[in-house]
């Protein structure tokens, strides 16, 4: 186990005038044993950053450290990391056992030790009965666990996960999420987990790195990210349905953007007059899609509350305790 540091990390693909910069100076310190989730929209550079840690991509600028050691230019094999890939990348011609043992055997561990470690990992992951199977004979969830097993047996300093759950169906995903949580609690290995799924990010992270266009917009606990998004981007990205961001609503200062989550809108006879555009019942609650002047907003109410009719005008106001204010130009949080 080790800490993981990013110092002004930069990545450019290609050279000369045709080069594209995809990571623009990321700075972050991850503590020993922390579970960090990296989120952000597609193409924002999550995988790139992860692969730079793994050594699968060169580091164009800056420095990445694992523990005390700067790893720039060091081969993947020598970085003492393990990685779980989105498609698991299991060796299809090897049994589950051999898949897990591969890395150990290459490192020439005694066969007894290999066997002991693999079996221990298999037990933790409830794979013991499957050790002789081929990956093709496993279900998606089982493959996922083998991929984790392969990472675990190595007892590396850092775990890297690149959207390891995205090939699973919703149910299995929820379940595996819990398993990963448990595993981290047991092993305590520093982990960097990439996803673009909010629920995954919120539930798994000790701290989250929210990425946008190759920059880190916020690096904080999930609570903090949800409660005090550092920027308009983070505010709009986290939360489903997302935070309402209003520029022209009554009372909003010019040059600022008011943010209010759908669940933080209250009925108020004195409030903003909004027209009901559509209503969606989601079991326990209802989403009201409202129109306020030029702007759309969404309000969330319990399903048992009476719902207004379509086209009706309703009056609402934001709950002051939960108002967010952003600078309209820089997009940064003001208060």
């Amino acid at each position: 186990m080790a800490s993981l540091g990013f110092k002004q990390v930069i990545k450019r693909y290609g050279v000369g005038p045709a080069a594209v910069q995809v990571i623009h100076g990321v700075d972050a310190q991850i503590h020993d044993g922390e579970f960090i989730v990296m989120v952000g929209p597609s193409g924002c550079g999550k995988s790139t950053l992860l692969r730079m840690v793994a050594g699968l991509e060169d580091i164009t600028g800056g420095e990445i450290t694992i523990g005390e050691r700067t790893v720039n230019g060091i081969e993947p094999a020598k970085r003492d990391i393990a990685m779980v890939f989105q498609n698991y990348a299991l060796y299809p011609h090897m049994s589950v056992f051999d898949n897990m043992a591969y890395g150990l055997r290459i490192r020439r561990l005694p066969e007894a030790e290999v066997r002991a470690r693999v079996e221990a990992a298999a037990k933790t992951l409830e794979l013991s009965a499957l050790l002789q199977r081929r990956p093709s004979q496993l279900s998606g969830g089982q493959r996922q666990r083998v991929a984790m097993g392969r990472a675990i047996v190595r007892q590396p300093q850092v775990f890297l996960f690149d959207e390891p759950l995205s090939n699973l169906d919703a149910k299995l995903r929820a379940q595996t999420r819990l398993e990963i949580q448990k595993l981290h609690r047991t092993l305590g290995i520093t982990s960097l987990f990439v996803t673009h799924d909010q629920v995954e990010a919120m539930t798994l992270a000790q701290r989250m790195m929210v990425m946008n266009g190759g920059r880190m917009e916020q690096f904080a606990t999930p609570e903090e990210v949800y409660r005090r998004p550092a920027s308009l981007f983070v505010a709009g990205f986290m939360g489903a349905p997302p935070m309402n961001l209003l520029r022209h609503a009554p009372g909003v200062q010019a040059g600022t953007v008011l943010g209010i989550r759908p669940e933080h809108l209250l009925w108020d006879e004195q409030g903003w007059a909004c027209v009901v555009d559509s209503i969606e019942l989601l079991g326990a609650e209802r989403l009201l899609h409202l129109r306020l002047g030029e702007e759309d907003l969404t309000m969330r109410i319990p399903a048992q509350d009476a719902a207004p009719a379509l086209g009706e005008t309703v009056r609402i106001r934001p709950n002051e305790a939960f108002i967010h204010t952003f600078d309209a130009d820089t997009g940064l949080r003001r208060a």
Binding site: A54, L56, E75, M83, Y91, P92, H93, Y102, I106, S136
Partner: protein, 294 residues
């Protein structure tokens, strides 16, 4: 075997099949049946006197030491051709797959021999290795190598093997390249993280994952070496010297067409046909097995 959703129609499928079936029945099934019949007959070249001889032709073939010589020769030849066409093709494919730029140009160049007829490939190699005027034989002679494929059976064998393998490399190369490119890059990355060196990755990941392709090419290569190399041998050595390059299929041709011993030739054909059926079945079983892999 069949899709779930189909069209209900009584006569249309037969209409659609008619041309194919007609050609197949008239030009394949019927003549083949006749050929099998001939294997049980003894007849003079002109077909003027025909008599049934039962298994006599088979007996004669199977007790003829020359036939076994040819079997052994065929094994040597096919193994050599197959291996010589596979190994360089694999090396080339690995090299091409490793390229970041310029793969297309090499691929184009390397696949040209595919387009060349075996008979013409034979002519090309014969020309280069012709003991009297060939550039390569001249080079060999100057280098002190006694090269005479018209006399030395080994030289002749080497020559037809080289010519046959040369033509087949293109085919193998394309398949290996396709196979390599279908290996997910993440597997190799995973292996790299697991600490495997490039050679190790090749040996423990790439090569095993290519094994379906390799096996397939092995079978195809054997069939090629058994049958399609006829043109090469015909053009280059005509089976000589001293039958040193007379592989089974050439023997069928020679005994039937040159020596006009139709019964024996037909019996040998039937034996060869059994061999092809065997190889085809092996290949099909294997194709089924391969489905498991992905």
């Amino acid at each position: 075997m069949q899709r779930k959703v189909i069209f209900p129609n009584r006569w249309l499928p037969y209409m659609l099949l008619a041309p194919q079936l007609a050609v197949t029945l008239v030009f394949f099934i019927w003549p083949s049946a006749q050929a099998v019949m001939m294997a049980f007959q003894q007849q003079d070249p002109f077909g003027l006197a025909v008599q049934w001889v039962g298994l006599e032709n088979f007996h004669a073939v199977l007790t003829d030491p020359a036939y076994y010589d040819s079997v052994v020769r065929t094994l040597v030849f096919s193994t050599a051709v197959t291996v010589l066409a596979l190994a360089p093709a694999l090396a080339l494919a690995v090299a091409a797959d490793a390229l970041i730029r310029g793969r297309g140009a090499y691929t184009t160049g390397l696949m040209v021999p595919y387009a060349i007829a075996p008979a013409i490939a034979g002519v090309l190699w014969l020309f280069m290795f012709n003991p009297a005027i060939g550039v390569v034989s001249y080079g060999l002679r100057s280098a002190g190598v006694a090269w005479n494929p018209t006399l030395d059976g080994t030289d002749a064998m080497i020559l037809v093997i080289l010519a046959s393998a040369w033509k087949q490399i293109a085919y193998n190369f394309l398949f290996f390249l396709a196979g390599l490119q279908s290996i997910p890059k993440s597997l190799l990355e995973a292996a790299a993280i697991d600490g495997a060196s490039p050679w190790h990755r090749f040996r423990t990941i790439i090569f095993p994952l290519l094994s379906p392709t390799t096996f397939f090419l092995l079978v195809v290569g054997l069939v090629y070496a058994f049958f399609d190399t006829f043109g090469v041998i015909h053009a280059v050595t005509a089976g000589g010297p001293a039958k040193a390059t007379e592989i089974l299929v050439y023997k069928v041709y020679y005994d039937g067409i040159v020596a006009l011993d139709l019964g024996s030739s037909a019996a040998q054909s039937v034996l060869l046909m059994l061999l092809v059926i065997g190889l085809t079945l092996v290949q099909f079983r294997f194709v089924e097995r391969r489905v498991h892999y992905s």
